[in-house]
Symmetry: C2
Subunit: 362 residues, 2 copies
Amino acid sequence: MRVLYRCSRCGYITEASSWIWKCPKCGGPLDLVIDGLRLTLNERRDLWRFSSVIPARPLASLGEGFTPLIKADFLGSNTYLKLEYLNPTGSFKDRGSAVAVSKALEFGVRTVIEDSSGNAGISIAAYAAAAGIKARIYVPKDAPEGKKSLIKSLGAELIEAPSRAEASKMAVESVGPNEAYIGHAWNPWFIQGTKILAYELLDQLGHIPSAIVFPASAGTLLLGLWVGFNELISLNIVNKIPRLYAIQAQGFASLYERMHGGNSGEPTKLADALRVSNPPRLEQMVSAIRDSKGDVLVVTDDELLQSWKSLLRRGIIVEPSSAIALSGYIKLLNTSYLSKDEDVVIILTGSGLKYIDIMSKI
Amino acid sequence: MRVLYRCSRCGYITEASSWIWKCPKCGGPLDLVIDGLRLTLNERRDLWRFSSVIPARPLASLGEGFTPLIKADFLGSNTYLKLEYLNPTGSFKDRGSAVAVSKALEFGVRTVIEDSSGNAGISIAAYAAAAGIKARIYVPKDAPEGKKSLIKSLGAELIEAPSRAEASKMAVESVGPNEAYIGHAWNPWFIQGTKILAYELLDQLGHIPSAIVFPASAGTLLLGLWVGFNELISLNIVNKIPRLYAIQAQGFASLYERMHGGNSGEPTKLADALRVSNPPRLEQMVSAIRDSKGDVLVVTDDELLQSWKSLLRRGIIVEPSSAIALSGYIKLLNTSYLSKDEDVVIILTGSGLKYIDIMSKI
């Protein structure tokens, strides 16, 4: 397998033989071009069951991936829930972290640096811990207290920034020798982990679903699905991509605003995991939605709250940000974008166990 | 498959055709006698992959079981961690709840009742929610606040009792028509869920380990392993049982005191999930340990705290009660009960995500 970086903006190409997180020519986000992709399943029961299509060795692994896919009987017989919140640190980001931290280790990195509203920070901290290297995590000071505590308990250095944007800036500027900025919103290795969701859904269902509904902020899940399904097409395993429906939170809906215009309202108070203002891969996100013939929707905090309660009352313990996928699904049904007869997968991204301290207040 | 209740104390036998949680003759704990047990694996990727040996239909399921088994590289190359904390509600109890609530539903029950120090209550509440029936959960008033909030958010009725023992008493006395007391420490169906751990370990490892190390309080995990491995022997699939090492918390070590005498110290302040004083199946627990040629150890809060921190620093987010298994493993190595060359599985039972509100204080 030969792997190249290719800039998604200016097309600059170079061998992927060291850690680069953005294009050295134009500063655009990098993609990976993989030559000689071949799919052979192995016996593992985690992300690395699909090692043959992952351009990294499993050096940092905590049992990520291979999460349950259950029928959502209360929504209709062809609706499935993909329980990404049962990943090792309670979020789908573990897929990306496992691959990115493994690759950083392969490149000789001794400290990984991340900016995060919480979940990515927890995930990177845990995988750095598993790999025996250091982590330095920048979070906005209003990130949930519990998430901040957990990052510290995992042995990472936690630095609080005045805002989410400031956290990014501080993280990038802090990088020293033998250190690597992960930057999950930028990182092309991270998407090599999230792309495995496409392979897994095919493996679990035996066919590809008609549509997939999921939360979107920085686009790592959307682009993972897009890359994964496109690889499956290039491997002649499937012949089309499911319609991808990205659901965004009010006030943090760059993708929606870019595609449909308008203003998405006051910043969400509940979907703390989705507070990303300027996703660097916005143009790719637009292409992914258009190519798949899907769309993007915005969900309000009121709608989110209703879906969150409804999921909890079904025994499904997700975080508030994840619940917007259910709100989005219901809107799509009501507006006939989706029909009850279609095979639809709703991706539930993060664990509600991180929120039990605030549940009594809602 | 024909299923009978058999009293473990007086031997009374009756058809298992309705919900009974203790012997109607002598009040002893009931076992199930299953006639015509046969093992055939199916394609599911959860507990119900082993449906052929479970005497219940999967009426309440949230993706339980089939949890990752990872190599614990920091402990030695033959040591494995079984990540039971990645079950749907963050505890191994989901295995038992899935089977017990499914069976209750099959018997026409409309409300399930449970007493719990937290995790079993969360689990039963979630599975009742998934099954669309009611749950009433009795907890000691000093159970962790977050766990109590979650039980309510799952739609269950939460009733606080002055103590753990009082919670049991109140739960049992409250049972009305069409209601069933689950009582996981008593319930024979619950163990039909936890026994699947034995089948899964064999399925994942390809052979049985030399020894298994795990926390013990009411004995549902210990007895599940014991029943499961004995079934595998009766099916002629394996020819011996791994040595079972039960690890108990200080002050709640009935099994240790019954087998070795003495007093296990002040009640634990950290292992809240293990605070069970009079396990109804104590005599069976003793037999299981003796039959397997294993043993029982007590771990202090100081030792627990060290192991908890050490696991977190490896990216493994478990609850304090689970960490005693690691402390126990280290003691067993140091006293030559175990050698580094042996295949050993350490079972990590509960999720640390339920504790992120207290992590900053430790």
